[in-house]
Amino acid sequence: AQDEDMSGFEITQEMIDASPYLQSVLSRLDQVYDTSEFAKDPPYRIAFAAQGTSNAWSALMDAHAYWYVEHLGEDVVSELLYGDAQAQADIQVPLVEDLLAQEPDALILVPMGAAALSAPVERAMMQGVPVVLCASAVETDNFVTEVGTNLYSIGATLAEWLIDTVGADGNFLMMTGVPGVTTSVIMEEGAMAVFESQGIELLDNQPGFWSPAEGKKIMETWLAQHGDGIDGIWTGGAQMAQGIISAYEDAEMEIPPIAGGEMQSGFLRSAIEHGFEFYAWMYPNAMITICLDAAIQILQGEPIARFIDFVDTMPEARPFTDAEAEDYYRPRWSDDVHGPVTMPDEKLAELGFLVEEE
């Protein structure tokens, strides 16, 4: 849905054939799940297997979850059973087992590993607990619905933009997230499909572990190696983009186009300051509210689409470029806030995400 304003990028049959992820997402776009078997009366006990205490993105997602449950009221959701995966699949698998042992009415899962969580998801379904996947997919098809976006398409779109902006003869670098983690791997797949289809040889491709420090270390070495021979950088997240910008700042060099910003204050602040070209996408942690809505819809027995793209429900979450940077920048948000945010400002302030106005 989000690629409507993109020039020329189109998912080819070849790409679909090569990517089980695309096959699954595309096929589910039109499917509807009959949820009558899960119907029951409110209030509901909903289990939320979150990414957990790991970074501001997931902290804000949790905050949205708690806020939204409160907002819905106790007569809708009586209990939110929470599980903190600390961003590790190893921890999440037993955690989901612990959550299921509490016999919740539904399970919302932010999976930390596509395969690692497949069987637990199937077991939940077998146990009669409907599963809503939030923000990422698993390998099995046996769940009710997924809320997210087409990550393959995002990765490809970012690459496409870079080529359009710089030209196919540019020298590109690629910095991915954590090797082996689904979100990172799928985005990389999409990007590589585009680069390869255009016959582009990358200068290098390294994982930056979604960390500003790691990203900066790698960028420093790249700068030493390639100097101003770098025409564009593809990156899988704003934190790494921050590291990349910081390395350029130190080297006092001009920042080339970056594909892979996000609506994140820290990134936008330096982007506006340095005025380079970028293409940002969004991965709002507020999508948890859509996941909760989906869970409730399921428990009410209403049929539900098997793939819910958050952009359809949250139109402000579409990609944007440097031209719109000022529109998306929120000076009062602290550096690590990822937008868009749907909860009220007081709530943000309570959690320490709002900077005191001087």
């Binding site: 205490t53 790991s54 970074n55 501001a56 997931s58 902290a59 804000l60 949790d62 090797p179 200068l203 290098d204 390294q206 994982p207 572990f209 960390s211 500003p212 420090a213 790691e214 900066k216 270390k217 790698i218 420093e220 070495t221 790249w222 700068l223 030493a224 190696q225 934190q239 921050q242 590291g243 910081s246 700042e249 130190d250 080297a251 820290g266 602290s334 550096d335 690590d336 959690l351 320490g352 995400f353």
Partner: protein
């Protein structure tokens, strides 16, 4: 009293000298070989810019490795360093909230907290005789948990601009490098020429004999853990300035890398043997490896493998040099 005349048997002696030479200089030879390989594989490495980058990055590891080496010298180990980095960057961002003039108080507070963590490690190891591996591992979980509870998952505040100074280089010189070299010079002197240094070696070599020689062994051990933690805070400040944000994964892996650097540099795992000069070489080897791997565009998986093999290779040198058992 009869010790037979040394160096009498020709074969035995030359063999022994060879082994001693490897033990004393193996790590420098390894470093030289690596540099030699770089002239062919990655000539870029020898450009001023690259050297500056390598040195700045090496300093981050190097400063921690000083503390780690000293802790290894008293037969200890510190795995809690990651927690100290995180604590440091949170304190810096929280206390200063971006204000340059608050940097000093922030650093002092971080040092005080670091000292507290170090003292905790030391007390567990000395008074409760918990093996350092587990004591400091437990402390790591505890410190990370405490930062989590304090920040509620969301570290607030900003890193002050003035810390950005750690990112500047004058030719190859930079603040982190100078700090690293300065701390090394200071602690090499301390270890070699002061009574404190002697006591550190004595405690590591034979703790019971040290106690019976009137050394307050627990004080020495606890103080070394405190020093190690304070050095980790120093490195944490550098890292915080380097990143410019509070990063939850700040300095991940430096604890194991610092141990590897010390061991590759010839510091014994069992205490009492080794020193900081070797550690410098160990740090450089580890840093060069990752920079060279990047310059060559090697995949991350290949980097993991190479790093493992080099550690094994370097340590094999020492085991070859061991006298027969």
């Amino acid at each position: 009293m009869s010790i037979a005349k040394p160096y009498e048997s020709a074969s035995g002696a030359s063999n022994w000298r060879m082994r001693k030479f490897i033990a004393d200089f193996g790590v420098y030879i390894a470093l030289a070989v690596l540099l030699l390989a770089a002239t062919v594989l990655t000539p870029k490495l020898f450009e001023v810019n690259t050297i500056a980058v390598v040195m700045r990055q090496a300093s981050q590891l190097g400063i921690v490795a000083i503390g780690q080496t000293m802790i290894l010298l008293v037969a200890g180990l510190d795995l809690s360093i990651g927690g100290i980095f995180l604590m440091t960057s949170i304190v810096v961002a929280d206390v200063t909230n971006g204000r340059d003039e608050m940097v000093l108080p922030a650093i002092l507070i971080a040092l005080a907290l670091g000292a507290l963590i170090g003292a905790g490690n030391g007390v567990l190891v000395t008074k409760r005789r918990v093996p350092p591996f587990v004591a400091t591992l437990g402390m790591l979980v505890l410190v990370k948990g405490a930062t989590q509870a304090y920040t509620k998952g969301v570290p607030g505040g900003f890193v002050p601009d003035v810390l950005g100074i750690v990112n500047q280089s004058w030719f190859v010189l930079s603040i982190p490098l100078l700090l690293w070299l300065g701390l090394n010079a200071f602690f090499i002197f301390v270890l070699r020429r002061t009574s404190y240094g002697r006591k550190v070696y004595a405690v590591g070599s034979n703790i019971e004999a040290a106690r019976l020689s009137g050394i307050s062994v627990d004080v020495i051990r606890i103080s070394v853990y405190i020093l190690g933690s304070c050095l980790a805070v120093a490195s944490g400040v550098v890292l915080t300035g380097y990143v410019g944000y509070v990063d939850r994964f700040i300095g991940t892996g430096l604890e194991l890398d610092s141990i590897a650097a010390a061991i590759v540099g010839g510091t014994a795992f069992v205490g009492g043997r080794g020193g900081l000069l070797g550690t410098i070489a160990g740090v450089l080897i580890i840093q060069l490896l990752s920079t060279m791997a990047l310059l060559m565009g090697l995949d991350i998986e290949v980097q993991f493998i190479i790093k493992g093999l080099v550690i094994l290779g370097a340590v094999t040198l020492y085991s070859l040099a061991e006298t027969e058992s």
